[in-house]
Symmetry: C2
Subunit: 384 residues, 2 copies
């Protein structure tokens, strides 16, 4: 059976990138490595749409998130947290550990945060030092309106700090133009690499706060140490996962060749196909404001959601993700981010249709894939 | 030219382990991954010689070191730092960031810490919460007497915390028997993997301190989170570098097959060959108490140490490491740890001999490799 990985991270990695990982190990304190890191940082700047160096941390996306909290804020600093799911909770838990005086602004799972609630929170808390939010909330499939949030926070002294781990390079995101002061992503989503690296962009406004924060209680995640080593000539403060960084260069070259606008358009096309296919099957989308990197579908009444996922994996090789924690069995999470194309989305819709029919649900055969393909056609006509 | 990586990390990785890294990416929240992590933890316990689970962190060795400081100690806690080089300084810098009240016990570069100075420091500071030291100090080639230090600290309430990043699996190290409460290593040394993972063993005595330390100011490096997820069934708190973990399983199986005592003996044999070869060439060892994972040689007067290293790399494919910071050009660091055998040490001694002769130094041709081979024979006769 041919496996297809359609989970919201890790995602499939291109074959040439994987082969890079099988190459002999080389010394990391060398001109060779510095040249590689230099190229990777340049290409990351393109993907982030920023003019400023992007820090490369060895760790998961959470390491990048904690680096932003611990480097930019001091205990007792006030922060507004725009939370809309499980990954927003990650911000809350990191802020707790670091003694941040946080103000949570929450919405129920499936909803997006609103610009109005952000404006109200900033008005009520003018001493806010930072606003944290999630670009793509993979627990619910929701995308937040980062552009609008950024324009609101930019009018204040607060930093705008975004978890774009599964959002970046799946939807338009212009780090500098949109006023994102710290933007965090990971290697294992749209950047087409296995997990192990976190990437963090930092604006001049954020560096000023970081430099003023004299007693950051983190060593490994102190962003200043990364900036200093980049300035010395594209080096790293600690032994990096340098074979992953070298392989990232290969995936980034692929992204450069495709072009970031085309990458965004491809994800929008895959998302349109997934949404149209699901709706044609009589299913409902869970997310009020759906992201383009994954489509989250509400499991319909009378259907065992977990059993369907098991059948998709075992009978068809289609690996979708279940809901997490309380959401288990209640939603299906079909990811289409990174090294995935529209025909894998067709395959997923087809598999879902087959298994829904087998589970006794009435479906006109072929209606899902037909609708998905129609959406693809419509999207392609927009581009050409 | 055939390259030979003889640096003290990263080290060469076996071909089958590298090929593992080129396999398709799989989902990390799965029975497949939990089975892999379970096997890796079991094999790590064997390598560490501990009965307790070993935490697997995605990060460099420094991440493991900071995890031990931040998890076990609170600001203001007193710690004794047994420092003998650049990696000892790493303990000092981490302790500074975390507000630890540290007492440094230092020796000049090239010397080992002494049991007497540790006993004196413990007597003078009976309120010490932890003693930190370095097993193999790769900046100088020194090995500390961890067994004796452990027996001394075990008589107190203090924790014994060891940076064994480049020491573990190169020299005898019995984590439990020797009273090492927290033992830290990395994937890119004797464990024969690229960098990206840190491994941390924790004794019951250390867990008691960690559990009592209620306000650990770290999220990503909080060891309690790792223990909890292992207890749930060999899972991880954050997205791990799971393809590296899978490949680590392959290298660990190789280590199991060789046997830990045989691995220690192989490193002792390689070290004996390197030391005998260097001495036969009229060179001096820099380390007073040399480690078995690398041999550090003092550059003799009248020789440009950096130029010799350049010639070894460019003309012979032999990549040795230079001294770091102030030591640059003053020492050569020839590592023989991990996936390296005695004949690569012969190659290094041969290359050194050739380049010393080319630099005008009087050497009887072949004297270095002859002495190295004699040492190998002598060591092999001990085993059989």
């Amino acid at each position: 059976m041919k496996p297809r990985l359609l989970t919201p991270g890790p995602t499939p990695v291109p074959e040439d990138t994987l082969l890079d990982l099988a190459r002999p190990v080389f010394f990391h304190r060398s001109a060779e490595f510095r040249a590689i890191l230099g190229e990777v940082i340049e290409d990351l700047k393109y993907v982030f749409q920023t003019a400023h160096p992007v820090m490369v941390l060895t760790g998961s996306g959470t390491a990048g998130m904690e680096a932003s909290v611990a480097s930019a804020l001091a205990p007792g600093d006030k922060a507004i947290l725009m939370l809309c799911g499980r990954w927003g909770e990650r911000w809350r838990n990191i802020c707790k550990v670091h003694g941040i005086d946080f103000v949570p602004v929450e919405v129920p799972f499936g909803k997006a945060n609103t610009a109005e609630s952000l404006e109200a929170a900033l008005k009520q808390h003018p001493d806010t030092k930072a606003v944290f939010t999630t670009f793509c909330e993979t627990s619910t499939g929701v995308a937040n309106d980062i552009k609008t949030f950024g324009s609101i926070v930019a009018k204040t002294d607060a930093l705008f700090i975004v978890d774009a781990i599964s959002g970046l390079a799946t939807m338009e995101c212009r780090t500098d133009d949109w006023g994102i002061d710290i933007n965090v992503t990971g290697s294992q989503k749209a950047l087409m690499l296995p997990p192990g690296l976190a990437y963090v962009s930092v604006s001049p406004k954020a560096w000023a706060k970081i430099d003023a924060n004299k007693n950051a209680r983190t060593f490994y995640l102190d962003l200043k140490r990364f900036r200093a080593k980049i300035a010395e000539g594209n080096d790293t403060p600690f032994t990096p996962a340098h074979t992953l960084i070298k392989a990232q260069r290969t995936s980034l070259k692929r992204m450069r060749a495709e072009g970031i606008e085309n990458i965004w358009a491809r994800h929008a096309r895959m998302a349109a196909a997934a949404r149209a296919g699901a709706k044609a099957l009589g299913l409902e989308l869970f997310a009020e404001r759906p992201a383009d990197g994954l489509t989250v579908i509400t499991v319909p009444g009378g259907i065992d959601g977990t059993a369907i996922l098991g059948a998709l994996e075992k009978k068809h090789g289609l690996k979708l993700a279940n809901g997490q924690d309380d959401m288990k069995g209640k939603i299906w999470r079909l990811a289409h981010m990174g090294y995935i194309d529209q025909f894998e989305v067709l395959a997923a819709i087809s598999g879902l249709e087959i298994e829904l029919m087998r589970a006794g649900r009435k479906v006109t055969p072929g209606v899902g894939v037909a609708a998905a393909q129609a959406a693809i056609c419509e999207h392609l006509s927009r581009v050409s």
